[in-house]
Amino acid sequence: MVNTVSFVFHAHQPYRLRHYRVFDIGNNHYYFDEEKNKNILHKVRDKCYLPTNQILLDLLKTVKDFKIAFSITGVLLEQFENYAPEVLESFKQLASTGKVEFLAETYYHSLASLYSFNEFQEQVELHKELIKELFHQKPKVFRNTELIYNNHIASQIASMGFKTIMIEGVDRFLGWRSPNYVYKAKNVDVKLLLKNYRLSDDIAFRFGQKSWVGYPLTADKYSDWISSSIGEHVILYMDYETFGEHQWADTGIFEFLKVLPFELKQRSINFATPSQIAKKQPVDELDINQTISWADTERDTSAWTGNDMQRQALQELYAMESAVKACNDETLLKHWRLLQLSDHFYYMCTKWFADGDVHKYFNPYNTPYEGFIAFMNALNDLALRVRKKLLEEIVKQQALNVSKLSKNSSIESFNMQSQTFQNFALQTSLITENPGSLAAEMLSLVKTFSSKRFSSNAKQD
């Protein structure tokens, strides 16, 4: 029977795009709806973050061995800093109890693990640094965006130095096995912590559902379910916004949370953070050769990559990586990364669109089509900016090189140098439909510049 429970709360708020129009491309670069993002953050602060943090703080102080874990995205922590520093303070207070663990993840709540190992690694590193800076902890357990996972991601995570990853307990890979044990990844020394989705979703999705057979869910009843489960431990992983935002205060969710640890203690259930659970020995290996996630009933990645629009948007976005990074421009990099939020692609999902369920609830657009249009317009504008910046950089470089050439260097050596830059341009294989055109454009700029240079040299002679 289960004797340990681990609570993991995932907090995130997207940077929603405004209805960025095709007419805005090249004219302004305000992709994000600052006002809306701020207002929503304030709403969730009042309904969820502050009251729930207070309840948890009280519990951590009164229940001796009570522990919890948070997985908070970098973009949310950033929004706290900008719009609601008091929330950040209250999280720091929680951290200072020493009974709160913070998990590692991608800073930008991105799908980078599926598209670019480099970018994936950089974002995990950025997030790690931020957690260290804010909460003075070095995260030991990794959790990928949307609990996206496959064997390959395990290897990538291992190469970043992690030994544990939290994933969804997907039935089709578990088969007869229970999620309530530690497992091991295929071919690599990484432990897998599995979310128990039934017990997690009882709170996250079904708590206030009057048509549900388990309604009303009391802490008493729920603790019985946990203590009578088969296995060693139960990992409860859910959106932190469950408390007060997805499940409103009038459902009794806060009262439930307040007494749950006491009810669990009465049944001799202990609390552990994910890294404590990871100390256990794995009972078996899980070979996950398809990509899984925690979304919808399919628990695959179709919520973000299921249709042509999503695939085109993602493909074009990640194709820009080398070009964006070659710019050495903080703002461009930041905007590119903010466009990586998985939320943008979720809004383009057509799967459940007609049925109007959870996808619609979270969608700031009326239709997936409007979401796609706004995104692609913004991406096109970013591509223009990157292109312009890159050209400037290259011309600047060239100018520097040409100025280094001595008066007597031959036009041949100059042309050779030009060729080098042309090759570089081709390698950066830009966003444009025709990467060669950028190279040509550069070459002509370089030629114009050099002809001026050589003619002025000639005059001096």
Binding site: V22, D308, R311, Q312, A354, F372, I373, M376
Partner: protein, 408 residues
Amino acid sequence: MKVLMLGWEFPPAYSGGLGIACQGLAKGLTSLGVEVTIIIPTAPEEFENPYAKVIIADKYDNIKIARIPSLLTPYASFHSYKVRYERYMASKIRNNVVLYGKTLLEEVQLFKHRVLALYYNNLLPEFDVIHAHDWMTFPAAVALKNASKKPLIVHIHSTEHDRSGGLGYNPKVFELEKLGVEKSDKVIAVSNYTKSLIMKMYNIPSNKVCVVHNAFEMPYTDVKVEKHHKVVLFLGRLTLHKGPDYFIRAAKIVLQYVPDARFIVAGTGEMEPYLIELAASLGIAGKVLFTGFLKGADVARAYKMADVYVLPSVSEPFGITPLEALSLETPVIISKQSGVSEVLNHVIKVDFWDVEKLAQSIIAILKYKALHNTLKKHGCLEARSFNWVKPAEKLLHVYNQVLGGLNG
């Protein structure tokens, strides 16, 4: 269940969408075991229709009709009649037949007398309910209800608001539409949009109006076209209420971003000269092509040729054309002021007056291949799921309701 419908046209003797909708409903009802009889005012000759027994009222002119001299005066600037008169002229050429009388209002009164005469001469089959389509049949329907004491359902396929483009109603038509709505036991509206118009115009309660969305059938599915440009299509009558001027104004903006696009305006109507001038004055005349009136397979070809079909109606009770376009795998942009937007998810919806949003949606579809593909794929599936059984089931429910209400 036996229903007696009063209609204005019925395939194959029809000139517009009303006849097609009536036939579709009859087809659906027949499949549910309902016996459908429909009386129409006139037709070139007697004909059979697989879905309903058709009675052509003017084929019984040997019956003595007590003609009361009409007090209605011919209405000179009577717009909707004018449109029908134009169609009549067209149909006269096509069928060598006269469909309508001197004025539409006279025809409407004449129909009433003929229907009553049919009833009193026992020339109508037995029926349980009367189901009347649009205002032209309402005087006949109300008279028949009074004579037979059978329940009456009036079906609004378009309101005077739609026909006038919201620019002032014809008082006589308004009066007749009102008469039907008030004297009926139940009103059927083709959309929630139409329902709310009816409630506002005639001040009737919500629970008297039941919404039954139309369905459609596309006869042509396999057409081949060749094209060399991106094509944006408008197809419909060139009247105020279809919003073709918004289409031209959007074209002006789109062409700044997609200069090689072509805009096709298919249809005829009173606004045609104005629209041609508008395109010229905006400097885009060379890229806006007017095709005139299209029919049959040419309509299908136009849809097929288009990269996007646009219906920017100012006021559209339902709107079949977006469904036709979608069923031929052409993405659609429709105005929120159209009834069909209530039953379609995989289309882009804009306010008819929001030319900028319309233009930007067109640009996005032309520019982003994946958007075009996704709209096409999902939209086509959605459109092809429509059939006439669903609306017929709702109608049958309403029939049972009014009968139960009268008997109990």
